[in-house]
């Protein structure tokens, strides 16, 4: 399974090489750069358990936000007769809606065959005969590119009956979503895929045992699946060596906000926050200072300037009280009012609650309203204690079916922890001292 070609940017090297064609990797270009060789080798010469084993050994962890080990997840799927009669499903979560996150769209639009090859290998590893790419409704270009790529792969015999001339068959299709952030939650996504309201399901049972249409189902993020071909081609040891910290592989990291050069870069797992901000994103724009970051999307806790030397690995970011999340960070500068920013975040979470569980449906709009009161000068002494008490109840895992409200309270609690003086100043001064900031 070894190949002389050992990429150190397995996710984006082909996109960089396709600069001449606008970064769009064609099927020809993909195959010239060893594309589909890993899927062909895995499907024609390895057992599903061997494929699972390589991914487990590589310690690939979910890139959608939760960081669960992919190979371990795959191993929960019942195999052979134990699965019972009927389909098994591999679903790619391409519902990229975590605010501040823009990595999966980049991968799908520019190198759709990489995702398809990852899905072929994943489907083979769990012996799924149906694969769906669940893509958010606003990603028109990415959906078209994927549909075209599936058709190209089918014409070559890579998708459909007896792929690569083997006895393994798998159908792939793109499902375009009707909207709503909650579809990114894996059981809500499965309900949406089944054509229902996207309300999360109670767990257990977990999807690997009972998922889409009650059948064993694995849901993996786009970037996670895009890692799989190179892992199979180059091996677990190679993948471990790519990371510079405790986690394996590379990651498409991103930075947005008032930095000089916002963007995406594929870098080793464990790259320090400071390197991302100062080297790749070019530091803060003139006239702006860093106040904090949301390291991995809107539902991750704030970190501040004291955390910049932390490596972007799952463990250290968690130890600092936050989450790696999607690895695409939002930079908060000194023109931003933290109370009004918190109101913006809670407006998002309140609006995007599916409305099923009471603490989330009723609690999040209540938090948003309290923040609006504080911002607009109607704050009262004791409001912050009230906010904390309710945030604790709303955010406690187990009070709701899914982690939507829990995620909502991560930036809320950490805003109170790091920027409490600013909240107090709003209440004491009867309104926003910054008046929505110097940047407008």
């Amino acid at each position: 399974m070894r190949c002389s070609r050992a990429m150190n940017k397995p996710l984006t090297e082909r996109i960089d090489a396709a600069e001449g064609s606008g970064g769009r990797v064609s099927l020809d270009a993909y195959e010239r750069a060893d594309g589909y060789s890993a899927a062909r080798a895995a499907i024609t010469s390895m057992t599903p358990e061997e494929v699972q084993g390589v991914v487990k050994d590589a310690n690939l962890r979910g890139r959608g936000g939760a960081g669960f080990p992919t190979g371990v997840k795959w191993s929960f799927v019942p195999m052979g007769d134990a699965a019972g009669p009927g389909h098994k499903y591999l679903v790619c979560n391409a519902d990229e809606m975590e605010p501040g996150t823009f990595k999966d769209r980049y991968l799908m639009e520019n190198d759709p065959h990489l995702l398809i090859e990852g899905m072929l290998i994943g489907a083979y590893a769990i012996q799924a005969d149906r694969g769906y790419i669940f893509i958010r409704g606003e990603y028109h270009d990415a959906a078209r590119r994927l549909e075209q790529a599936i058709a190209e792969a089918r014409a070559k015999g890579y998708v459909g009956d007896q792929v690569f001339g083997s006895s393994f068959s798998v159908e792939l299709a793109v499902h375009r979503s009707g909207g709503r952030y909650i579809c990114g939650e894996e059981t809500a996504l499965l309900n949406a895929l089944e054509g229902k309201r996207a309300e999360p399901r109670t767990k257990p049972p977990f999807p690997p045992v009972s998922g889409a249409w009650g059948r064993p189902t694995i849901v993996n993020n786009v970037e996670t699946l895009c890692n799989v071909p190179a892992i199979l081609r180059n091996g677990a040891a190679w993948y471990h060596a790519l990371g510079v910290g405790e986690d394996a592989g590379t990651k498409v990291f991103g930075v947005s906000g008032r930095v000089r050069n916002p963007g995406l870069w594929e870098l080793p797992m464990g790259t320090p926050i400071r390197e991302l901000l100062e080297v790749h994103a070019g530091g803060m724009q003139d006239g702006f200072e860093l106040r904090g970051i949301l390291p991995g999307g809107a539902s991750t806790d704030f970190l501040t300037a004291e955390h910049l030397d932390l490596p972007m690995d799952y463990g250290p970011i968690q130890a600092a009280g936050s989450r790696l999340g999607t690895g695409t960070m939002i930079v908060i500068d000194d023109s931003v009012c933290i109370v009004d920013l918190s109101r913006n975040l809670q407006h998002f979470f309140a609006q995007e609650s599916c409305g099923f569980c009471t603490p989330c449906r009723e609690g999040l709009p209540w938090i948003e309203q309290l923040l609006a009161d504080i911002e607009e000068g109607r704050g009262q002494p004791g409001d912050l204690e009230l906010l904390e008490k309710n945030a604790e109840f709303i955010g406690a895992p187990g009070n709701t079916f899914c982690l939507h409200a829990t995620g909502a309270m991560e930036p809320m609690n950490s805003a109170l922890k790091y920027f409490r003086a600013e909240f107090e100043a709003h209440i004491e001064q009867g309104g926003c001292p910054l008046r929505h900031g110097k940047a407008g």
Binding site: G178, F348, A439
Partner: protein, 165 residues
Amino acid sequence: MSEVVNVQLISALSKAETAAIEAEIAHLPNRESAAISALRIVQERRGWISDESLHAIAHLLGMSAHALDSIATFYNLIYRRPVGRHVLMLCDSVSCYVMGYAGIREALIEKLGIHEGETTADGRFTYLPNVCLGACDRAPVLMIDEDLIGNVAPEGLDEVLARYE
């Protein structure tokens, strides 16, 4: 519903719409599972989902119109009211907020003369708020129909809007 009414409602879907919906059903375990895809397919051709369209789709899928409506109204990209010739979605999520969303919103409301959820009197634009559009390195961002437009500034809005008649 009587048989006669049903026949009329089925005829409300075009052959092309029915064929596109049946193609979705073909790769799903049952007909109702195509509900969201069917709503999208019809909306792509008609701009929105009228009661008549809703009933016709529900009949084709073998489900009640009420059940389909509870699904249609859950999803923000399914429109149960008429929209303008162009749908403009302005991102109001955190990266765009940090990069000046408020100024863009103010300028849009002034130029279009409408607020979120409304359509201009000439039927040209419907303005909707939207969550993160996944182009945060180019914030602030908006989407008109299927076009993603980044690095929007209040002073550049006229030029952007002029492209959509």
